[in-house]
Structures are given as C-alpha cells and as structure tokens.
Subunit: 256 residues, 2 copies
C-alpha cells in the first residue's frame, strides 16, 4: 500500500520568501483566479477562502511564474491554496482589474507581520486571468493554507460577498459555465457513468438557476445525439423504474 | 462640412519615447493582439502587418497602459497601428506566450536604430490577450504605421506565415469566430439591412470554411427566429427574384 503525499499547501515561509526573493520570478501585475464550482444532486456551490483574521472572502488566486504556462499556473495555484489536484480548469476571460482596491491585501500582510514593500506590484493593479472548473463537491475535500482561516463550499446564491473584483469574476464564470451546457457531454464527469434523465436535468437546472420543462429537455438532449438510452432501468426506487442513459463513448472525459 | 481628423498612427517619435520613458507606464510582459477578420461577398480575410524592412508578418498588437482597461487598450492599439476606429473588438483568450522567440523584435529595433535595453521586457516572454473582430473589408481602409511596410487584407488561407505565436492566436480566433455563428444575429453589421438567404449562407460558409446544405441552412436560420422574411423580393438579377430578409429589431447591432 502506498499513500499519496499530502498536497503542498502554501506556508508562512512560502509567503515570506515570495516577498523577500521570489517576487521577481513572477509576472508583475498579473494574477490568476479560479472559480471552482461544485455540483451534487441539485446543489451548485462555489469554493471560497476566508482570509486569516480578516472579513475577506475570495476565490483562490495567485501569481504566475515567468517561465510557467498559464494552464500549469492555474493548477499549481489551486493546489497550493486549497489542496485540490487533478481538477480540469478552463480559462474563460481576462479581467482588467481596475477600480479594485488592494488596500485589504496591505492590511492583511501587515496583520500577519509579513514585510511587503509599499510599492510592490501585488498591492497595485492586477490583470486577472480567470479559470473555472466544475467538480463533484462530495468527492473533493478542500484544505485551508496559511493565508486562510477556512476554505469551504458555499451555495452560489447563498454566500458571503466577495472582495476585490471577485463578484464580477464569479458572475462571468457562471456565464461561461452556462455556455458549456450547449457543449455535448458537459457534465460527463459529474454524473455516474449511467444516469437517469432527471439527474441530467438537475445538473442543467442547477447551472442555469431555473426550472426546465421535462419533455422539452428530454427531446433536446436526445436530439443532440451525445447520450444513448441503455436497455436496463434504474431499480429500487419508490417510483416506476426510470430509463438509464450514458454519454456516447469518445465524447465524454473532457466535458468542460 | 467638417472633416474627421486623420487617426493618429504610431510614429518614430512614439517608438523612441516608449523605450526612453513610457515603458514604465505599461504593464510588463503583457501584450494585446488583434485578429481582425474582414468579410465581403464570399471572401474571408485577415488584417496583417508586414514589419518594416523585415520578413515578418503579424497581426496588430501592442502594450497595455497601467491605468487602461483592456477593452480600451484593444481599440487604441488597433487604431495606432492600422488607423481602424470604431471596430467592435471582443476578447476571446489569453495566451501564455512561451516557446516564442522575440529575437526578430530585437533585430527589428536594431535595424531601425532605436535604443532598446537588452533586458527590456518587450524582448522577453509576453502573455498575450487576444481580441478579434469581424468587419466588412470593403468599408475599411487600413493604414501602415511607422513600424510597418504595409498593413493589408489577406485571405485567411492564402497569406504569409505569421511570426511569434500569431499562428496559434489566429487559429484560436477563427474558432471563436465560428462559435459566434451560433449566436443569433451574428453578421448583422456585415450584411446589408435587407439580405437574401444565399448572402447569409455565404457569410456562414466563409467563416466555417465549408459548404452548407441550402435547405438545412434555411430551416435552421428560420427556426432560430432572429430573422424575418419581408414582403418584397430582390429585383434585377438574372434569376428568379429571391426573398429578402432582415434581422429582427432589438437583436441586431451587437453581432459579435
């Protein structure tokens, strides 16, 4: 039996080293933010971080190394701040980052006693490259890093207000997520390999934030041709056994 | 009669001033590139710049000021390099800019006799925010700035090979352009206010790069509900007078 090593989470030492030395190895004025959506049953959530000792909530984000591809940076940043690995993050938009006060960041580092030069670029304008992902929140256990009191799932419409430009970024990420529903097999990694039509409909309804007509939904999904009905039915429920479906092979696996 | 002032094109003085003084007013390691597509009749073209005295072709691009929103930067950059104004540019993706040699840029400035420090960030890795637009190329007259020998329209599949990561950016921009065809009223600013079904089909075919079935295309467009058939028909052609259509009001005007 081998045990997977615990994912590396950002430590106090990492933070100190960043401002003392590593900052020049990063692209100035650029940040990368991750909107991680979690779905299960009928629930849509988003992964948020509460900053240590502060009344600040945000999505996980971090800086890009000068030698690092953006996609690799997205995965590394998500991992060091939340412990999440192997999440399929997808870029959706880059934000100007103007009209956003970085004052809370300054207060935060002062409170932690970490030396940050007053003119350091992380305290100024940050252009933000936005990434999003959709995971099953029951299968994913986020961890808090040194910067955070907590890192946890919140209902997308029942959560604290986000700092910086993260309300705008989250709003835009939700639109990107909605647009993926038009892509065949979106949700292939979120549903069991065999699923019922109501399960697929709940995924779409959670992402769209509204009820859908059962008949129209079923027709649209079948017309699209990316799912197929199996011979078996789901058993054991109180109701009439519903048909089971699966995504056609060759299409699933990269839903977003 | 008033005459519109000629748009300001980048001069030698602007270039010299950029490296002598203005560079620190820009976000380091960030560039913004514009894929401007031109359509007319059945032709899809792209706007390219040939660099002065060099065998380099690229799309127009430039640096973002520290106080400037990305959308505003896109419009300014397109204008100073090509003279184009009032083009609806839309952001589509941000590129890592790794594996891209900036050596030709160094040679270019050396040839022009413009002093550039060897460690200046425009000679290093540049993360590129990509924008694209679609215009009627008969209505748009591009101009060459100081950096360019020419600025002209080329067939998207019949053009010089592009430098830097511009082949990848152009490829990705074409995919973004294709995706807009699923948006109702795409092309509303490219077609006359009243158009025939074959004219609309030619727009779609040029962007998709393949022939479409006439009956299926007509059915899909009418089903979508964003165009309506008018009482009149087009006259004067050699063939049977075709029906005229228009985009339903309230939908046109922001096609991309």
């Amino acid at each position: 039996m081998t045990r997977r090593p615990a994912p590396h989470l950002l430590s106090r030492k990492d933070l100190e080293r960043f401002f003392a030395r590593d900052i020049d190895r990063h692209i100035p004025h650029l940040i990368l933010d991750c909107a991680v959506f979690g779905f299960h049953n009928s629930d849509l959530k988003v992964l948020l971080i509460k900053w240590k000792g502060m009344n600040i909530w945000s999505m996980p984000g971090g800086y890009v190394r000068k030698t690092e591809p953006l996609d690799a940076a997205a995965n590394r940043i998500l991992q060091v701040h939340t412990g999440l690995r192997n999440v399929h993050l997808r870029q959706f938009h880059t934000f100007s980052g103007l009209n956003t006060s970085q004052r809370p960041v300054k207060q935060f580092y002062a409170k932690l006693g970490i030396r940050v030069p007053a003119d350091a670029w992380p305290l100024k304008r940050l252009v933000a490259v936005g990434y999003y992902a959709l995971v099953d929140f029951l299968r994913v256990r986020p961890s808090a890093d040194y910067m955070a009191d907590t890192c946890a799932w919140y209902g997308v419409d029942d959560r604290p207000r986000l700092a910086f430009d993260h309300e705008e970024i989250l709003q835009s990420a939700r639109e990107a997520l909605r647009a993926t529903l038009d892509v065949p097999s979106a949700g292939a990694t979120l549903l069991p390999s065999r699923f019922t039509m109501p399960e697929l409909q709940r995924l779409h309804e959670a992402i769209l934030g509204r009820q859908l007509d059962r008949r129209n939904f079923q027709k649209k999904m079948l017309d699209r041709g990316d799912i197929e009905r199996l011979a078996e039915r789901r058993r054991g429920g109180a109701h009439r056994a519903p048909f089971l479906y699966r995504f056609r092979s060759g299409r699933a696996g990269d839903p977003l």
